[in-house]
């Protein structure tokens, strides 16, 4: 395979006493993509992340980050991974700049280089004005943004964000999501752990849903939606001005259409591929007044709720 995998887990397992937190987890994240790790509280998201960083040892199985075993070579992994923990903290007595410079120092970044990187990172998260303020005076949202800057300082190949949007105002969330969406262009892979489905949907290319330590489903969002909720079919919704009898039967005869449900002005067509143009032709050709038609897009909520119900049962 040409493209390297940013993260690859093999039967990753972790338990605390009798409680299995992560259970034979297998998944991978490709390079330069934004991967959303979803799941309810206690699904094992943070534990999985900690194992990726080598901060927690797995009971069995392994994680590889860009080919490095996280348990055996944690330093090599930490050199290329930036991690923003859920409850990020800073040294309250130091200023924003000093906090970042300390991290740069820990990463063996030269003094000159670190100065430039700190300025750039603070600018990216919009904290340039507050750079000489002690972080003890920072609000929750400002700390969160400083946390992002803290991760960017290292210029990592992989960024792991654990609930990055908590505590941010809507504007801050937008800025952050834009920032995250722009990262793959710079060659950075992002792993985003979150409950905020809408935000995940906006920036992630692929998602994985974790429940009770197991990966319930994994893949790209649109593919997942079709597979999960419509058995891999397209759902096309057609709205006409007034109900017309017999139209449903005519549409059913179109090549590729599998099922048509008529409900007043609405027709719900299930098809193997995107047949909008053919259907439009048939509808208009039968003198029905077409108001609008669209391919039903599956929101992450649909996927999430469906898989949750399944795993709860």
């Amino acid at each position: 395979m040409a493209d390297t995998l940013a993260i690859e887990t093999k039967d990753l397992t972790k338990n605390y006493g009798k409680v299995t937190v992560v259970d034979h987890l297998n998944f991978h994240v490709k390079e330069s993509e934004v991967f959303g790790l979803l799941g309810p509280n206690g699904a094992g998201k943070t534990t999985t992340i900690l194992m990726m960083l080598g901060l927690t040892e797995p009971v069995s199985g392994s994680v590889r980050v860009f080919g490095f075993d996280s348990t055996r070579e944690p330093i090599k992994v930490k050199r290329i991974v930036g991690y923003l923990p859920e409850a990020v903290g800073f040294y309250d007595n130091l200023t924003a700049r000093e906090n970042l410079e300390f991290v740069a120092d820990l990463n063996n970044i030269s003094r000159v280089e670190s100065k430039q990187r700190v300025d750039k990172a603070l600018e990216m998260v919009g904290l340039t004005a507050e750079r000489d303020m002690p972080t003890g005076k920072f609000s929750r949202g400002m700390k969160q943004r400083l946390g992002i800057a803290d991760v960017l300082i290292k210029e990592p190949k992989l960024i792991i964000l654990d609930e990055p949007t908590s505590g941010l105002d809507p504007q801050g969330i937008n800025q952050l999501l834009e920032l995250i969406a722009g990262l793959p262009k710079m060659g950075t892979t992002v792993l985003l752990s979150s409950h905020q489905l809408y935000q995940v949907q906006r920036v992630c290319h692929s998602i994985g849903i974790l429940s009770k330590g197991k990966m319930v489903i994994e893949g790209s969002i649109d593919k997942l939606g079709r597979e999960a909720l419509a058995g891999g079919r397209y759902i096309i919704e057609v709205e006409i001005a007034e109900p017309k009898t017999g139209l449903a039967d005519i549409i059913r005869k179109v090549q590729g259409v599998e099922k048509v449900e008529a409900d007043g002005n609405m027709l719900k067509i299930s098809a193997a591929s995107d047949l909008r143009s053919q259907i439009a032709k048939v509808v208009v050709g039968n003198d029905a007044l077409l108001v609008q038609m669209k391919v039903h897009e599956f929101s992450l909520d649909d996927i999430y709720m469906k898989y949750f119900k399944e795993s709860q049962d």
Partner: protein, 316 residues
């Protein structure tokens, strides 16, 4: 690790805590110096050091006057407190501040974190104690006008080394509790209580002596061998306290006229020469004490090291 030491030292130097500790040690040094100024003549005449051409400069550190404490005693009380205050929140403050997981996500070994903090603490303490002793020595020199001999300088230096080892023990103890306890209150209180028991109750108020005498009474009239044996046992019991070990060590170093640590019979007393114990012999006497103190610090640090390495690092 250098980055961590740098940061910790910078933190110490900017903190009010460090300033307060420094002032405390300086005040103790000043007090002791004042006591020495008042009492040094009497002390020297009493110990016949003047006539023996002995250790006049060292008497600065060991003379008392009225109710004022001897300089070394003041330092012996304050150094453990300094160690505890510098070490009690090294690890759990990182935890409660949420900086621990961020710090450990950087490419540093976990042991560099604890090593760096311990070393930075020792450096800060060495700076406080070293500066104070130098200041006291300097003012003392001005005061009495008798320069220290080479041997006295070596003895003072060794005294400094022992103080730092002793302080490192208390800092290691405080760090151990800072690894085990999540709250800073617990990790401050427990080492201080331990210090109070080992120093104030055991050594200062004489509880240790009382217990030792109860366990191994020296009964008058029994034969000499048994009495000496009992005295040895008493001393061993007293040495359960690290503060007592430290006290013995610095007395031997700074008061060369002191005659040994064990029991001396009256018949032997007649044969003792009224001259100071040479430096080499002093070192020989306190060697076990130094090893004991170093190993105590090493044990404290070692336990906290192991506990810290095995600890789970959860984000919350």
């Amino acid at each position: 690790m250098l980055a961590i030491i740098r940061k910790e030292l910078a933190d110490y130097f900017n903190s009010i805590r460090f300033l307060v500790l420094f002032l405390m040690v300086l005040v103790a040094g000043g007090c002791g110096l004042y006591a020495a100024q008042q009492g040094i003549r009497a002390a020297l005449e009493q110990s016949q050091a003047v006539t023996e051409g002995g250790f006049i400069f060292l008497a600065l550190f060991t003379s008392s006057w009225g109710g004022l404490p001897i300089l070394t005693l003041a330092i012996a009380i304050i150094v453990p407190i300094t160690g505890i205050v510098l070490g009690f929140d090294t690890i759990n403050s990182e935890r409660s501040g949420g900086t621990m997981s961020r710090l450990l996500a950087q490419p540093v070994y976990r042991d560099s974190v604890i090593n760096g903090k311990f070393l930075a603490g020792i450096m800060a303490m060495a700076l406080i104690v070293g500066t104070t002793i130098l200041l006291v020595a300097g003012y003392g020199l001005r005061m009495i006008g008798v320069p220290p001999t080479a041997e006295e300088i070596i003895r003072l230096f060794l005294f400094l080394v022992i103080i730092i080892i002793y302080g490192a023990f208390w800092m290691g103890l405080a760090m151990l509790f800072s690894v085990v306890f999540r709250r800073a209150a617990g990790s401050l209180l427990i080492p201080i209580v331990i210090f109070l028991i080992f120093y104030f109750f055991w050594v200062f108020l004489g509880f240790g002596q009382a217990i030792a005498e109860a366990v191994a009474p020296i009964i008058a009239g029994t034969d000499v061998a048994t009495q000496i044996q009992q005295a040895g046992l008493q001393q061993t019991i007293m040495r359960l306290s690290p503060s007592f070990i430290f006290q013995e060590a610095y007395i031997v170093l700074l008061v060369p006229m002191w005659k040994g640590l064990g029991a001396i019979t009256y018949s032997d007393l007649a044969y003792i020469l009224p001259n100071p114990l040479s430096l080499g012999q002093c070192l020989l006497v306190i060697w076990p004490h130094m090893v004991g103190l170093i190993s105590l610090s090493a044990i404290c640090f070692g336990i906290s090291y192991i506990v810290f390495m095995k600890q789970e690092i959860r984000a919350t």
